[in-house]
Amino acid sequence: MPNRISTIAKQTFKTVLNNRATLALTLLLGLSLCLATYVGWQNFKTQNNQRLHYKELVRAQWLAKPDKHPHRMAHYGYLAFREKHELSFFDFGIESFAGVSIFLEAHKQNTVNFSEAGFSNGMLRFGEISVAMVLQLLVPLLIFFLGYNSISAERESGTLKILLCQNVSWKQLLWGKTLGIIGVCLSIFTPLMLLTILLWASLSHWQISGDASLRLMVLIFSYAIYFFIVSAVTVLVSAFARSSKSALTTLFACWIFFMVIMPRITQAIGVKIYPSPSKIEFADAIATDIHKQGDSHNPDDPHYAAIKDSLLKTYGVTDVKKLPFNYGGYIMAEGEKITSKIYSNHQKELNKIFEKQNSITKVAGFMNPYLSLKHISMAITASDFDTFVDFQNQAEAYRYQLAQKMNKLQIDKISNIAPGEEEKPLAISKANWAEQPDFNYHFGKLSSVITNELLALSALTCWLLATILLLQYIARWIKTI
């Protein structure tokens, strides 16, 4: 029995490739894939090099700062740049829509600025050609084109009856056709994947980390499943359609609905159901909370007055100027602790809202395999929302650590007695600056990515199971004539 399936598959493969138009289309798609790989790689290289260049510059400038008051350094702050993952050349994901640089300073949390989208005059809205886009959008279109008449043409030419009379079962026919079409697909997908692996290996200077190779494996596996689902759907539509023409139009309509219209609508619904605050509302909510907690600028504020009293009591002095450490630095450290905690809580809430907005599109993956694959692909190539949030969190953690480090230097090394209005300002040695390490973003591990994407992964699995079941058991509802 498997023999028959493979015979049908081989036959389908040959017929498809014998058609000159499809051969041309397939080659064209293969070519555009190569181009997308190359350009994606170039893009990755230039943008990452740019960011690394400025990262080094920022570090050098930080170290070169002369002796000064540590609080000046806290305000000088740091610039962090979002690095791209080595696999992001494959799928651009939200890369172009997320900011690139963030200014980290004391007291204040800034936005991640300078996304590519901010410099775009609208062209970006049509999309970006990447390997992922070709594989997600165009390969299915090719599969539809290759397979729309796989069964209906047999029916129209009368060979279907003959086939079924010759003891070929519907199940064998469906499986054979599906596998044949996947064969064509894989014959362009496989060389491309090899090329991708080679490129990526050379990008990482032939030092492939275990995590990254695992990521690539999962990626390849997910795309293979996606192609299988699409091929099976194509064959099934062809089997059920009244004619080749109606199969083709149905498939085209599906493509347009699932890949062009639906993503926008689901996301718009998500945004509508879970509205996110604007920046000013967000900032206002934080300011209100901070005000409730205590105001370090107000000398009569109960929270800070209590701190002052307890410090004076502990050290047995009557004036903060007599404390054995820098009182201003101590108060700032306390203020930073309070404000950054409040800020982080609000940021967490905000990210939760965003995740809820995105969840509608993720759940829609159960209706639309394209959406679940899109999420999986972005997550694995670290060009997704979670990675962006992770970057924001790491940058904020660094900012907090930097501010507190400078406060600590002030507490320990700056005199408690402020100089007069016309005297030289207090300063500490520039040797202290090197103690603050450089900012380095660390990508998450694949295991955490998988846990985050469980929903999308299970949606894709459901699709896989559903199509297998359909191929196995649908035969009785198909009409032969």
Partner: protein, 454 residues
Amino acid sequence: MKKSIYNLEFKLFFRNSSSWIGIIVLLITGFSGLYFGKTFIANQQAVIEKAAMLQKKNTLSNIDHFGKDIGLLFYHNKFSLANAPNAWAAFANGQRDINPYLISVTMLGLEGQIYDTDINNPVSLLLGNMDLSFVFIFLFPLVIIAFNYNLLSEQKESGVWSLLRAQTNRSFQVIWRKFLVRVAVIFSVALLLLFVAILYLHLPVDFIFFSITTLIIFYLAFWFAVSFFIISLAKSSNFNASALVAIWVLICIVIPASLNLFLTRKYPMPEALQNVINQREGYHEKWDMAKEVTMKPFFEHYPELKQYPFPQEKTFSWFWYYAMQQMGDDQAMPSRRAIENKLAARQRFTNTLAFFFPTIQAQLGINNMAGSDLNTHLDFQQAVRKYHEQIRLHFYPGIFLNKAVDSTDIKDYKLEKYSPQQTPSVWVNLLSISILTVILIGTTAFNFKRQEQF
């Protein structure tokens, strides 16, 4: 006689369920586009109203907190300028989700503040907005394709065509009539949606309305021309459907997406990162330098401020502080200009390309008219620069003379709304789309002529 034939053609057209499906899809997506587009803009309007309220509240609380030190008050107090959406922004949201429509700045260095983005969900930005312009630019062409692809081939495949050719020598007229019926239906749906948009979005029926309507009509005409051209090749239905969908995918997705990638490669923007660094260094390095280094160029920039006495002997003064802040902006000037030039180069490049691709042309034209494109945002940025300068020069004397806060009119400062000065035009967009349409119609006519001879 003629009238009744058209009646019959309409009846035939509407008897087909796929015709109804096409019309209903357009209407449903059109209405949801209107709804989501309006919600999006209504939200921005609500935020601007709220910002106006917060502006007042925050100014008062800042005066309460920092009112004893005028320099410190203006260190904290923010001034807001809003790029208030016009009615058309709900029709085409354009780049309004990406670019901030509300910029609040203190009197400190502007280059460190003006590029701050709003807080967005990047996934929503990636998937794009659902508005009516999306329906017109992306979905109408598809329905046009669906209505037309089998106009001639269906007749041939069902055998009607040879019968018809045997009976009349004006068989082309039959196709032409069917074609006109579809043109009438599509344009009626388009005009209906535009009419609903006028009522629902409260669009003024003005120059912009006629420009956008004309642009849309020309754009749809282009797609009819494309479909008619493919029909004129007299191939099978399946060929026509595949070819037309392929053309749609090419000019609506693949070509613009490839060109965009080419654009980002050709005009990368490292200047933006350089600008941040220039501004930051330009200001911060001054703390460790003699006051002369700051004040000399500052007085060269603003000679009129020399009249205020500069407290040279003091270690710190707000006069010096605000001058240092200005140095950040002044030293970032070359990189700021470089950004502007790069963006202008990108715009030129896109405009040239758009001449060959009606989809890009229509999108750019509509966003431009709706004031939701990058250029409007850049103009808005310039307005923020002007406003910032005006505020600085207004309050500098009070700060430099260390006056009491009450002596200034800071309480009178409200949120300002930016309104674009010039009305854009769509002549170029119309011209390029119509040229392409005419070329296609010409080729189509030629194809049909050749077939008539056989």
